[in-house]
């Protein structure tokens, strides 16, 4: 079986054993968080930074749940890890399977794309929030999760469906594979 089909199978089988919710509670809670941050913080850059930080905290913890429940134990290989992120991670946690495209020659950068998601249903950004990066949380989650796998990456939103693009695109760039250092 191809690696992709195998991961899809693992995703379905893991998902079937998990407690589930309708996506609405998730979408709306995220909306409430973004609205709260916009009111609390002085400018949109701070909101984006806070969303990224929250995402990073979530990613750090979510990756252990994902690995524990699926039994996957990947080496820090960008191609395989990104397949897991899209075919298993996104499938289980956001109900979608983004596509991966534009791999570079040494497989260190890739673009992840999706149209709809449980994060942004029914969301419309008012013009005052043109610079708000609604999906910044997702960037943080990817960054945090991959960091726990020993891969330091940079995530940038290069296209945003909420701002009129066809799809939301996230550019993921591997910067460093980290060697674990003994603490003593």
């Amino acid at each position: 079986m191809s690696r992709e089909r195998n991961l899809a199978k693992i995703a379905e089988s893991t998902f079937s054993k998990l407690d589930k919710v309708h996506s609405e509670i998730f979408t709306m809670t995220y909306g409430a968080i973004v609205t709260t941050l916009v009111e609390d913080l002085d400018n949109v850059d701070e909101v984006n930074a806070q969303l990224d930080k929250m995402g990073h905290n979530i990613g750090e913890r979510l990756v252990d749940e994902l690995l524990a429940k699926t039994g996957l134990n990947p080496q820090p290989d960008m191609r395989y890890v990104m397949e897991i992120v899209t075919r298993v991670g996104f499938r289980i946690y956001l109900g979608i399977t983004p596509t991966l495209s534009n791999w570079n020659a040494d497989s260190t950068t890739v673009t992840l794309s999706f149209r709809d998601s449980a994060l942004s249903d029914w969301v419309e950004l008012p013009h005052t929030l043109d610079d708000l990066s609604y999906f910044q949380l997702v960037c943080g989650v990817i960054r945090g999760a991959l960091e726990m796998l020993g891969m330091k990456v940079k995530c940038t939103i290069t296209a945003d469906k909420l701002k009129g693009a066809q799809t939301t695109d996230i550019l993921v760039e591997l910067q460093e594979v980290m060697q674990a250092k003994f603490y003593n």
Binding site: V63, L67, A68, F182, Y183
Partner: protein, 165 residues
């Protein structure tokens, strides 16, 4: 398997973030947590160093592209069962000798960990102590990733008792 005496968890840098020692109670037919540790601090430190070197060692001696790993090693008195996750967490159960490798059980303990500790924002098991502000003297420093979770302990105790009976 009533010879389970301890569960230790190390984080990616080899710092111990969780330790729980046990003793089988024949009267209560349960595995009871003990305050006297099965391995003292020095032994835990040495175990950490040993386990930390195992993954790079195995990857050097294994054929290319194989994903081999040590899942248990034994002395005359004890057996050490090991699971290392892709996130660098090392779960080790210490038992008496002559116990078959507990890889499946360790995977289940990782799942318990995920359902309790990973979901609790107060626990940051991957945070190394050097990253966080240190309080007090260096020799008293405990890693900031120390796991404090009543629900993990409860779930773990029940699970290990069920294994032992």
């Amino acid at each position: 398997m009533s010879s389970i005496c301890m569960l230790v968890i190390f984080n990616r840098s080899g710092e111990p973030i969780f330790e729980r020692s046990y003793q089988w109670s024949p009267t209560m037919r349960a595995l009871l947590p003990q305050t006297t540790p099965c391995l003292n601090d020095e032994a835990v430190g040495l175990l950490s160093g040993l386990v930390f070197s195992l993954r790079p060692f195995v990857s050097k001696i294994s054929p290319k592209n194989s994903a081999d790993s040590v899942n248990c090693f034994t002395t005359e008195e004890k057996t050490y069962h090991l699971l290392e996750t892709a996130t660098g967490l090392k779960f080790i159960i210490v038992t008496g000798p002559n116990v078959t490798p507990m890889t499946n059980e360790l995977q289940q303990i990782y799942q318990l960990f995920a359902s309790t500790v990973a979901l609790n924002p107060l626990n940051r098991p991957h945070q190394a102590s050097e990253d966080a502000p240190s309080e007090g003297k260096a020799d008293n420093k405990k890693p900031n990733g120390q796991i404090v979770s009543a629900s993990f302990c409860t779930a773990l105790d029940s699970f290990l008792t069920r294994l032992s009976s």
